[in-house]
Symmetry: C2
Subunit: 319 residues, 2 copies
């Protein structure tokens, strides 16, 4: 059931022994939101911990190290930035019926919690958590500012993605004034790549192919490339935007071989080309500018089928 900000704050005020659940493969928004909420609840004299199905990258040590776990048995479960139970990770369904409050900015939230505070207009869940902390009357210190800024900056690609709003910028300004160490956060989040990521980017650039005067571009990530470079799954973030980032490319596709030898295809396009339409013809779906599908066939055939679908889309637009 949907809940107002004031009622969500009242719910938190009346509870204790909080277990704050992050989504699996945790990103900056779920981590920043979860730890901000944890610290704010502790500031109110309550017990609170953060829980996640996967280990949090040491990159976020500037957050996790400053908020060590407490010993208590959980009573009130709150999920942050988690659109559905399976996104909690393996055994996520075990939490069915147990979660008192979910705070999220995904319009696709399935409403699995008893109370849901969702605002799809928020660029990040961290924006909602900040409103909630303000409602709770907890002052924003440097730690909270670091958490909120981390969530906001990572979910907006450092204020570059189209979900960024004037409100996002105003919050960033406020967090800077509250003591957020944005130089350090920006460096850790946007300025550092692992050696294996650098290595696989080089291999990926070797696979870059242009078709139809450069209107279509493909990159391929094989199992062998992943094994040879030792790149972690979570370390391939954003790579699917590479082919579309080339000047003149209207449809950029990434073919990524999974462990079963199937290809997970990500399609990114520029207006007026519709990625979701392209993927729909191949049994997939998504958004107009970003969509996906699976192709269970060898690479040459997968490329051929994908290229045909892209060409049809361009032809239907007389491009």
């Amino acid at each position: 059931m949907s809940i107002s900000l004031a009622d969500a704050a009242a719910l938190l005020q009346s509870g204790d022994r909080f277990c704050i659940l992050l989504h699996a493969y945790p990103d900056g928004d779920t981590i920043g939101s979860g730890y901000a909420l944890c610290r704010a609840l502790r500031a109110l004299g309550k017990q609170a911990n953060v829980r996640c199905a996967h280990a949090i990258s040491p990159l976020y040590g500037f957050i996790t190290d400053r908020c060590p776990p407490q010993a208590f048995s959980p009573q009130t479960y709150v999920a942050v930035d988690v659109a559905s139970l399976p996104l909690l990770g393996q055994n996520g369904e075990d939490y069915a019926g147990k979660i008192a409050l979910c705070i999220d900015h995904h319009g696709t939230n399935t409403g699995y919690a008893r109370h849901t505070l969702v605002d799809p207009a928020a660029a990040a869940t961290a924006e909602l958590v900040l409103s909630l902390i303000d409602c709770l009357g907890v002052p924003i210190d440097a730690f909270l500012a670091d958490c909120i800024y981390t969530g906001l900056s990572t979910d907006t690609g450092c204020f570059r993605y189209t979900n960024t709003t004037a409100t996002s910028h105003r919050i960033a300004a406020r967090m800077m004034e509250a003591g957020a160490n944005v130089a350090r956060i920006n460096e850790a989040m946007f300025d550092v790549k692992s050696r294996s990521r650098i290595a696989i980017e080089k291999s990926i650039l070797d696979t870059l192919e242009y078709y139809d005067d450069g209107k279509i571009a493909f990159i391929t990530i094989t199992r062998q490339m992943r094994e040879q470079t030792g790149v972690a799954d979570g370390d391939l973030e954003g790579i699917t935007s590479l082919p579309r980032s080339v000047e003149g490319v209207l449809v950029g596709c990434t073919l990524r071989e999974n462990d079963c030898g199937e290809f997970k295809v990500s399609v990114r396009s520029r207006e007026p080309v519709n990625s979701a339409q392209i993927c729909a013809t191949l049994g997939g779906g998504g958004h107009p500018c970003a969509a996906g599908c699976r192709l269970a066939c060898p690479l040459p055939q997968a490329k051929e089928r994908l290229l045909s679908a892209c060409r049809e889309a361009l032809a239907s637009l007389n491009i």
Copy 2:
């Protein structure tokens, strides 16, 4: 002579037939600042044009196309984002004594204009131009918002660099509300690379070398690589930050061969390593985190000298 904001506004109010000078190899800040000022002066009923020694990239067509030149002979010269006369380009010195006002955010401004409005705390000259337009009483329309946002976002690396302030974010919020098409600007400025840039990045990754357990990294850009990929000089922006962006690297060096076969070296470091110190031992200089020098010797020797200097710097810090 230094001038106050109010006096600079009065100077502009009293002048006419403005020629607004941009720096050579124009970037988003000089272009955004120049065109914003040009449009604001025209809104006051004055004649104004923008002048630049180099052609402005078609990437900025969303600005230049909406402010075509007027026919008149210039009377009042104003320079924006130009720290010294030579930066105006070839024949820059011809403007000596002719420039009534310079608006700039470089602390290194040489004070070549009759009046100088400089604020090194401003993340971009566009921030100062906005204050000036506010002083002049010209309302911020969508075009002015596009110009100011372009200057601000490009000079801050889309709010990622350490020069970004809370004020920068507040201005971004205001420009969004005034109608800036930030989705389009961010896409054009931060999401598109030329095919030749992509091609040379691949070649550059082939040259990436790690030393001393990955604390030092080198990349090399030869004349041959530039010729083979056909990359324009201006299209290599930001490439020098690549080696330092690898996890664990404390000093990242770029050796770039110029047309005379010399190597222009860019050194980027993380604290506590001091780039300026490294370059000083090789006859160059710069800032603690970004410095440069020239090495007039064949590549193997250039690398050897540079590596020695980097190792000395690490050894002196017991790293």
